[in-house]
Symmetry: none
Subunit: 201 residues, 4 copies
């Protein structure tokens, strides 16, 4: 990698980082490109060498951060001995929730976006964002478990939506309950959903 190329990567990273902080801080609408470049210590025009507009950088950011969340959880799962399908599922979810609880900024940003679109198309095409093939990963989990479900995709969809939409309020505002009150109920519900979907072996 030449010096110039390194420089470019650095600048791109600086823009992404600045944008992330500003988006989280004051929202996307209230963040201007001038703000982003200023924070990154670059000229306004430089932004357009790397991204086409504000929404382009936002999308790259969401995809990247969400994939990262999942990647970490998947890596942790891989280190553990195999367990039941529902245990693995809950392990993954719990891992992601823990990350988001630690990094509330990230939660607020990924927020409502950590949902179907992301999970289904999480293979980010691009030169640099390393992709994660969530559907394939899920498929593998199913096969490994040897169990069959009525509608596995719908099941995942419902679980993801339930988790994604409940944790937002709970982590950020502790409303209507604190996170450790939600968790057991949430995980029990998920177990129930999985059992209900299972077809008689």
């Amino acid at each position: 990698m030449t010096k110039t190329e390194e420089n470019k990567l650095q600048k791109r990273a600086a823009l992404l980082e600045s944008a992330f902080e500003l988006f989280v801080d004051r929202g996307i609408v209230r963040t201007s490109i001038a703000d982003i470049t200023k924070k990154a210590g670059l000229a306004k025009g430089t932004f357009y060498l790397y991204f086409s507009d504000k929404y382009d950088i936002r999308d790259k950011l969401i995809a990247y951060r969400a994939a990262e969340l999942f990647r970490k959880a998947a890596r942790a799962l891989a280190k553990k001995p195999q367990s039941s399908f529902e245990d693995e599922m809950i392990f993954l979810i719990d891992h992601i929730i823990r990350q988001l609880d630690k990094e509330k900024m990230l939660l607020n940003f990924v927020s409502k976006n950590l949902e179907w679109g992301i999970f289904k198309h999480a293979i980010v095409q691009g030169t640099d964002e390393i992709g994660v093939d969530v559907p394939q990963f899920y498929q593998d989990m199913l096969e490994r478990s040897g169990r069959t479900f009525r509608n596995p995709e719908l099941m995942l969809f419902m679980i993801v939506e339930l988790v994604g939409s409940t944790i937002h309020n709970v982590i950020l505002y502790k409303e209507p309950v604190a996170l450790d009150v939600l968790k057991p109920e949430l995980y029990e519900t998920i177990r129930l959903m999985i059992h209900a979907q299972e077809e008689a072996g």
Copy 2:
């Protein structure tokens, strides 16, 4: 009510209606106050006699429309003979889903906002939006059923979030399944959640 007062109400309604159509049509960011007043046939300055800014009118609108959804469902429930708690709950949810399926515009607008904040604080304080006291209504339902649950508020929260977040994709994009595929699974899950929360009588 004097003629002037009638006039004022009419103008306020015109602004709300215009704003709603424009928000739904092109989104809030792309709607200007000039657009709203023009569509309402009023002068730009008049807007500020009724609302403080774009986000003020949006909030009034969401609260009003969401309350209306609920009010209609509650009214329909009242006409029926009493049934089990879970049947009544599913009746209400199904009624709201049907409304949103018919009026996709409304869904797209209320969208992700049909959730905890709204349900909990749906008593809109204001001069004219007729309030609906959802928590009280829920309390009455619980008492009427004579049953007791571990954490009724958390239970409602989870149900509302699950419904709110799944129907959006399903109604608007039929993704990952069509609405009538989702419904039975969704309602079964809700029943399971209610049972799991019930305390031994």
Copy 3:
């Protein structure tokens, strides 16, 4: 006319005047809307209440100024007793040339635009620019003279183009000759063109 309306007309006029001077001074490309409004003592946004963009004001300006040139010449002609077709034609042309010679700024601006498009479509539609129907005026001149020409429109076209393109260099740079050297040759050529086009009576 209300005070507000008077005010608006004044502002519109101020913008037109400022734009004209700047366009003449440094050309259209090098004139920004900020320049125009600043010179007119107005805010930048005010420009857009009166014109849609730089090229809109330019077109209004050209049409208005060209029509004015013609209107003055026509008015002067009307005060004279009727004479031959070619004398009237040359009187008009000479009158316009004299105006342009006095106001070189105007020449530089109308410049190459004082030609077919303008003459043919000089009826400016708009709320305020008073139109002049050049084709109709020409038609009347022809009829009044009682003479017939092979192709009157083509004849006018050639005359207008010849005049318009020669006077520019001559008035502004005295190149290749001074204006009073050009004039007799120009007018003689015009007479020749008219005679050559005349059909045998």
Copy 4:
């Protein structure tokens, strides 16, 4: 010529060619230096090694293309046996008009610029554009004919302006007449102008 020198000429030519096509296509104002270099397959900075800015390349281009038009016409004339002054003049003009009618792109570009400045100073000083000395050529034509005119330079000026300004509308928009309707009238007018200028031998 060394290989490097050849390379340079090639690059220069590529820039000229790209600029010409873009100028013709979308106008000078809307063409950026990035566009030109991209089309030429060169880097942006390279442009400045050959031209000082956009207007520099435009001027070089107009001079070059106009000179080329004339050079071709003059070469064709040289192949013919000598004829009368007016016949030769009209031959040249007709030759140029034919070229422009074939290559409308070129007409649109040279357009209003094919006039006095160009004809008088058509000897392009520069490293590579081969010059054509139009005034000298005209002088030779006059001497060869053995005739004398009152003001030969003014005569040429008027002819050039008349031709240049009429063909633009006629070729591009067929307005107010088609080219073959204009031509006989135009050429007759030119003959009349020449005769009127001739001094009694």
